[in-house]
């Protein structure tokens, strides 16, 4: 906090301080790496040398992981024609321009029911999943913290109105409410985000309000009123920082459940529509092929698990660091 009192440091020094900070908190850094890596890969997906995620090649249906196939040539539309064998006799008639010799193509995670490259689908699919998982999360936290603060700090009628609305929201099970919203609005990325936000905001408001209630009765809040601070200032400068640990924990938990939520929507066909990839549609595809090619479902499940674990660890670590008591002892 000393930085609040001292003038701004030059950028180089700040970078060095960040580096020291990361070295001093190895667990935090370790949990950050997979998250940042996934975000970066999702961002630069169009620049990566991967095939079109929607390009079907029925001849490589359910190709096992770590196998190879051959690009024999291109068809009339200029798309690659891929075949599991390099035998020229198998050349489909659609091939217009032959490659001689055929180009080798690696399928690290194999191919799905339509012979689409799973790596490519996972990468393109992570854009949708991360977008919703992160942006819905930010929206949920902003909305719920705001209303939680209002309800908990101001109390009285404001509290009454907000909490009755929350009760109405909580009367529906979260997933049911989300499905209801998706059914009414129709499946799309934005509607998925809306469904996730609306179905999880009520519970979050209740969490934050509860925490605000315990903080608002603290002596330092009374002391702040005695110092002549106004309500808005006390809410955001005195109460909010003390609710921060809970906000971080809840955000980490939300991130995990939102990935699962969005994947779930797509899995049951209420989310993204085929052939567009996200982790849910890949899973739903893999679920159908569980006996023929179990590897298809592995990719998204492993990624979701890694993210879930990393976000939880990250939440715990940040919470520890933010607590002045723990960070200084």
């Amino acid at each position: 906090m000393h930085s609040a009192l001292s003038p701004n440091k030059p950028a180089g020094q700040r970078l060095r301080r960040t580096a020291t900070f990361l070295r001093d908190h190895p667990v935090l850094s370790a949990s950050l790496i997979p998250i940042l890596l996934l975000i970066i890969i999702a961002l630069i997906a169009p620049l990566l040398p991967i095939t079109d995620p929607n390009r079907a090649n029925l001849s490589v249906r359910y190709l096992p992981p770590l196998s190879e196939a051959y690009i024999l040539g291109t068809d009339r539309q200029g798309n690659d024609v891929v075949h599991a064998e390099r035998n020229p006799d198998l050349f489909p008639s659609s091939v217009v321009e032959r490659y001689e010799p055929p180009v080798r193509k690696h399928y690290v995670l194999g191919a799905d029911s339509l012979g689409r490259d799973i790596v490519s689908r996972l990468i393109w699919g992570s854009r949708v999943s991360l977008l919703i998982g992160i942006f819905a999360n930010v929206a949920v936290v902003l909305i719920s913290v705001f209303f939680g603060l209002l309800a908990g700090y101001l109390g009285g009628r404001v509290d009454g109105v907000i909490m009755r609305l929350v009760d109405i929201g909580l009367a529906f099970p979260g997933l049911l409410l989300a499905l209801l919203i998706l059914t009414v609005l129709g499946p799309s990325v934005i509607n998925m985000a809306v469904a996730v936000i609306l179905s999880s905001v009520p519970l979050n408001i209740r969490f934050f309000r509860g925490q605000v209630l315990t903080v608002r009765n603290a002596k330092y809040v009374e002391a702040a009123r005695l110092l002549g601070y106004n309500n808005l200032r006390i809410m955001f400068r005195e109460v909010l920082p003390n609710v921060m640990p809970l906000i971080i924990t809840v955000t980490a938990l939300n991130a995990t459940s939102f990935f699962i939520f969005t994947a779930g929507f797509s899995l049951i066909g209420m989310g993204l529509q085929p052939p567009d990839p996200d982790w849910g549609t890949i899973m739903s595809d893999g679920l159908r092929a569980l006996y023929e090619q179990p590897a298809v479902i592995l990719g998204p499940t492993i990624l979701i698990s890694i993210l879930a674990i990393c976000f939880n660890i990250l939440g715990d670590e940040v919470q520890k660091i933010l607590s002045p008591r723990e960070s200084q002892l």
């Binding site: 906090m1 000393h2 609040a4 009192l5 109390g155 009285g156 603290a218 002596k219 330092y220 009374e222 002391a223 702040a224 009123r225 005695l226 110092l227 002549g228 601070y229 106004n230 400068r237 005195e238 920082p241 003390n242 921060m244 933010l322 002045p324 008591r325 200084q328």
Partner: protein, 329 residues
């Protein structure tokens, strides 16, 4: 400092009634309290728990929370009617012209911000100064309240301070804007005896130096005897007795004051049995037809349960609310 008729009181409370309206009963926490505090004066407000001392203080600052409400009376501070002030005007008075400190100094500081930041904010809320100047002022204030190495201590967090040191910080925050009146609500109750003495001495020094009036709320008779020029004894939401401290202590008029003083162990006569006050504080949820102290009073007579005594001056500046002295005047 003795009371002179020519100076205007810095605070004049007249016939203050603060009641709490619960579903089952009306709690008359403060029920007709009048007193004045003159510039530069230290006034002790004593009484047992629940007699309305703290509610009186909160009423002065306009910080009585629902279901409580100031139902009657006038509070004139520095010639202005506090009860007619808007929220904004009240906030400009709080922490600026009237400051307050209380028990549990560590709880009065926000645990997530450094002490320096909290001091700087308290200063900048009421003064138009830059960060740097506020920081310089903070250093000076900590030095003044007797904290060694202020520059070292400012970036530290409240949990790194001992109770006595934290109370000094809180006093520094209260002094930051040179208030005309400091309300100290049991400022030493949570501290051990040697620290108590230091804090009381500090308050006395600051009272001399800045000429601010102090309203010292406590249940510790010894502290009042030592440091306050005038003493007000409260019982059951009303003033039982008030006067110059030597008069009240050497010649207590009200049976309650007498009983309070008798229940304090006397160091000069350690073998003498102390005489505790029997019974419980009055039930202030009902309006008493007679004197609230009557059930516990050793000198009660026929008039006491039926007629409510009025506060009467029995000597110059020495007032008592008891039927025993009505004939005398």
């Amino acid at each position: 400092m003795s009371v002179t008729a020519t100076t205007e009181p810095v605070l004049a409370v007249k016939d203050l009634h603060t009641h709490f309206f619960t579903k089952t009963a009306t709690v008359r926490a403060v029920n007709g309290v009048s007193f004045s505090i003159y510039p530069g004066e230290i006034v002790g407000l004593v009484g047992e728990s629940g007699c309305g001392k703290s509610v009186t203080a909160m009423s002065i600052l306009g910080l009585v929370d629902t279901p409580g409400r100031v139902v009657n009376g006038t509070i004139t501070f520095d010639g202005r009617d506090m009860r007619r002030m808007s929220g904004g005007q009240l906030r400009r008075v709080r922490g600026h012209e009237i400051a307050m400190i209380f028990q549990n100094p560590i709880g009065a500081l926000n645990p997530v911000f450094s002490v320096g930041r909290q001091l700087v904010e308290a200063i900048r809320t009421h003064q138009r100064v830059g960060r740097r100047e506020a920081y310089q002022q903070a250093v000076g204030l900590l030095e003044r309240v007797g904290i060694p190495d202020p520059e070292q201590r400012l970036p530290q967090y409240p949990h790194q301070f001992s109770g006595g040191m934290a109370q000094r910080v809180v006093i520094a925050m209260a002094l930051a804007n040179r208030p005309k009146l400091l309300i100290a609500d049991e400022p030493t109750t949570a501290l051990d005896v040697t620290i108590q003495a230091q804090i009381i001495d500090l308050l006395a020094e600051l009272n001399q130096e800045f000429g601010m009036a102090v309203l010292h709320i406590t249940h510790n008779m010894a502290l009042v005897a030592e440091s306050c020029a005038r003493t007000i004894v409260m019982y059951g939401g009303k003033i039982a007795e008030s006067g110059e401290t030597p008069a009240v202590f050497d010649d207590p008029k009200h049976p309650y004051t007498q009983a309070l003083l008798a229940s304090v162990p006397d160091l000069d006569q350690p073998d003498q049995a102390i005489d505790p006050l029997e019974g419980f504080p009055p039930d202030i949820t009902r309006e008493w037809p007679g004197c609230e102290f009557e059930p516990r009073c050793s000198q009660r007579f026929e008039r006491c349960p039926v007629e409510n005594p009025q506060l009467r001056e029995v000597d110059v500046g020495h007032a008592v609310r008891c039927h025993l002295y009505e004939a005398a005047t």
